[in-house]
Amino acid sequence: MLKNRSVVTIEDVSDEDLKEIFSIADDMEKLLKENRKADIMQSKIMCTLFYEPSTRTRLSFESAMHRLGGSVISMADVKTSSVSKGETLADTIRMADSYSDIIVIRHPLEGAARLASRFTNKPVINAGDGSGQHPTQTIMDLYTIRKELGHIDGINVLMLGDLKYGRTVHSLIIALSRFNVKITLVSPESLKIPDYILKRVHDEDKIKLSTDLESSLPEADVVYVTRIQRERFTDPNEYQALIGSYSIDSNSLEMMKKDSIIMHPLPRVDEISTEVDRDPRAAYFRQASNGVPVRMALISKIMGVM
């Protein structure tokens, strides 16, 4: 039961919760297609605290709350708020507690959402904490896989790119390992998955580590690509040498199954060439559009109205 509970990590969402969220998200999608409003969150206020830049996550949370008939208050900019005067996160949360019914937070430090949940009785949703977790992106990713392929159990997932710092893959690996799936993790040696994430995986036998993309592509039902950040490399030549081996282009499409899909949490830079966008297997923009119905479903569950 998610009612009045915080969602800090994907482990806070049970398998049963996931099923219910998916089913509600299906209904919300229909509602959105019919251009109707849910109006089940009237007089409820969501407070969004984004200490880091965000486009999709922030907009989709705010859009979801508005579509449900609720309102949103937010901290305009860290630079103009009391945070710049040295206010602790704990104090900011105490304030947000009295102004709103549900709090959404993104913060550069790991564990910030967990800390926030200790200073309020209102539910807190983690919208990304440093290199930690991003559970709502994961719910959205699982929803996308289920919608695109019809099922999650029995699939092969290839995850590609920055598996060390990419928080979306951390949550997703933990969540996928709860299903009957095979996961292949392909990354440069310096950006491989941290041990502390592998230790939280339900069954390590489901996971295979590799540095070779080409041999793993033909098996994959889902190719989940993440951005390799240029700034992670001290030598720009090293980045240029690497990026070609860990990106998806028309040659990669040749090697992939006809009914597979390519996902990406976006923003995309060099790791998926734009020629791939026209291929029906490119699911990343459809994936991003699932953000609103999935977050509508999650908010409704937490607020106890569904």
Partner: protein, 156 residues
């Protein structure tokens, strides 16, 4: 030389505590985490690298007129998981206890992850959940990373 002969190197104490079976070389760190030293006013006897029956070598520490709080026992367990503590009253052992690694440790350790919110100026104490006793590994309540005992003890 037998263990008995070795322990005679340090004289008996009247009142206080004896911490035995400390892994060789760790007694200085143990004293520092217990905050006993030149300014604490206690008389301390310390024997390093004493031949032990149990392990090859061990350290032994005797602190006069000092007791041990419950939370200090868990702290000792991180550095010396096999340590025994004898509480001495009037030259007699009043009680002998083995340290036990607790399920959680609050407030004593610092998170080695510099990007963890518990290292920011927030009004919270650290919480670590023990995930393995041997080798010692603990998970930070906040950043959820799992650390080796040696990384955590280095931060005390």
């Amino acid at each position: 030389m037998t263990e008995e002969n070795q322990t005679l190197k340090i004289s008996k104490i009247r009142d206080g505590i004896v911490i035995d079976h400390i892994p060789a070389g760790r007694s200085i760190r143990l004293l520092s985490i217990l905050n006993v030293g030149e300014h604490s006013g206690h008389t301390i006897s310390l024997a390093m690298r004493v031949k032990s029956n149990k392990k090859d070598y061990k350290d032994v520490v005797k602190i006069e007129n000092r007791n041990i709080a419950e939370e200090e026992l868990s702290l000792i367990s991180l550095i010396a998981p096999d340590a025994t503590i004898s509480f001495i009253e009037n030259y007699n052992i009043k009680e002998k206890r083995k340290v036990k690694v607790p399920e959680t440790i609050s407030g004593i350790l610092r998170c080695p992850n510099q990007n963890c919110i518990s290292n920011a100026k927030e009004p919270v104490e650290t919480i670590f959940h023990i995930v393995s006793e041997d080798p010692l590994e603990a998970r930070c309540e906040y950043c959820e990373r799992i650390f080796k005992g040696s990384d955590l003890i280095g931060k005390i």
